[in-house]
């Protein structure tokens, strides 16, 4: 068997005169789900999504269910919506926490056990996307998450003094990359309708390289943290601190069960007869699904747009943050560029290379 998917983003930084002249981003492949599922019953895709998309399977399930309901002209019951919101929040928390440690800090015995406990508790809370469960496992899961966070040095919006996370942030070399003052633009729920309309109209042509009237906004933690005004040249440390702060907020949300809070976390849109779409705010940003069903409830079209397509767009937020920046010479500067790319938190691995502009 030879699977023809490239599940990694290739990033080439082109240098000229010591500054970053350009950045080339070669995205990963996209599976042709529309072609494969066209003509099949709408319910058939629901079981497949968690198998295909491992990191944000709850978000994909909720987006798909919400889009299909909108296409059918149905409204989910309030209790169902609340279960889905909890699942999306729990998955977002788990993903943000896991991505703080994986590949960044050594996961030895105690830390690995804490991350494992966190993942197990998150899985319990994500289990209610499509069916109700008792309350007691939920309470226990939230307590387990709180305990794991404390053991990992996350008790408030800043890492606990003396923790490995605090030491890592203190060691980030903010001086090794002088960044330009790039204009910031953020994706919000107000953009949803235009995006899903174009997604259903233009399909992969749009989802491969999305834009909003020439604007390619950022999505994810940094975009959600847009108030108060963020420093335009913020580096990896600020971005990672924003991630920690969000983990703490999400944990508090789960503990207090603030079910009435509405920040556009899940939004559904009816786009005409048999057509529907949904947006879900997952760990790495806004995820979109759009479907068209035929009168027999079969899939005529299915499109999706993942948040990484915005952040790692060839003219997107990461590229804007790097172009014109001046890295320190040698390995030190390259490490600083890598830390910045990593802080944008792509949903797949990335391969980073450097070369002088004009050289083949």
């Amino acid at each position: 068997m030879n699977l023809a998917f490239r599940n990694e983003i290739a990033i080439t930084v082109l240098l000229s005169g010591g500054a970053i002249a350009d950045v080339k981003v070669e995205p990963r492949s996209r599976p042709p789900l529309t072609r494969l599922f066209a003509g099949k019953q709408a319910a058939s895709l629901l079981a497949v999504l968690p198998r295909l998309f491992s990191l944000c399977s709850a978000a994909h399930q909720v987006a798909y269910l919400s889009a299909v309901e909108a296409a059918r002209g149905e409204d989910a019951a309030l209790t169902t919506v609340r279960r889905r919101v909890t699942a999306v929040i729990a998955e977002r928390l788990t993903e943000l926490l896991r991505s703080l440690f994986i590949g960044r800090l050594p996961l030895d015995g105690a830390r690995a056990a804490s991350v494992r406990a966190m993942m197990q508790a998150g899985a319990v809370l994500c289990g209610g996307v499509d069916e109700a469960g008792p309350d007691s496992p939920r309470r226990e899961a939230v307590l387990q998450i709180k305990s794991a966070l404390r053991e990992l040095g996350i008790a408030g919006e800043d890492p606990a003094p003396g923790s490995m996370l605090a030491a890592y942030l203190a060691d980030l070399d903010g001086e090794a990359l002088s960044s330009p003052t790039a204009e910031q633009s953020f994706l919000t729920a107000a953009d949803d309708l235009e995006i899903v309309t174009r997604l259903l109209r233009d399909g992969a042509h749009y989802s491969d390289a999305p834009e909003l009237h020439g604007r390619i906004p950022e999505t994810g933690v940094w975009a959600r943290r847009r108030q108060p005004v963020l420093p335009p040249g913020a580096g990896p440390a600020e971005r990672l601190k924003a991630r920690i702060a969000e983990v703490v907020r999400l944990c508090a949300w789960l503990e207090d069960d603030e079910q009435d809070r509405d920040d556009g976390l899940v939004a559904a849109y009816r786009l005409g007869s048999g057509k529907g779409a949904a947006a879900v705010e997952c760990a790495r940003g806004r995820l979109y699904h759009a479907v068209e069903l035929d009168p027999g409830d079969r899939i005529a079209r299915f499109e999706f747009l993942a948040p990484t397509e915005w952040n790692f767009h060839a003219r997107g937020p990461l590229v804007r943050s790097l172009k014109g920046a001046v890295p320190a010479p040698g390995r030190r500067g390259q490490d600083a560029v890598r830390a910045l790319v990593d802080s944008f938190d792509p949903c797949v691995g990335f391969n980073l290379s450097f070369r002088e502009a004009g050289h083949a």
Binding site: L3, R28, L52, G103, R116, E309, G349
Partner: protein, 78 residues
């Protein structure tokens, strides 16, 4: 969009590391986030870490689906 490609554990190494086979290609990964892993288990990997264990039947179905997707069109981003 992270595709979850199942990997089979082919060898366990010291220090919570293991060798897995992904689509016939061997790769060394960390298994620190999964307890009691054995040779023959299937896992889902993200940036060098095994994140979840999946049962062999689920792995088989996922690989079959990925094969269909692969044959159905590359869908590569230009």
């Amino acid at each position: 969009m992270c595709l979850a490609i199942p990997a089979e554990v082919t060898r366990l190494l010291p220090d919570e590391m293991a060798v897995v086979s992904i689509d016939g290609v061997s790769k060394e990964i960390s298994v620190a986030l999964i307890e009691d892993l054995a040779v023959g288990d299937y896992v889902i990997i993200h940036v060098g870490y095994a994140l979840t264990r999946i049962d062999p039947e689920e792995a088989r179905r996922t690989l079959e689906l990925l094969r269909e997707l692969s044959a159905g069109g590359q869908g590569a981003v230009p």
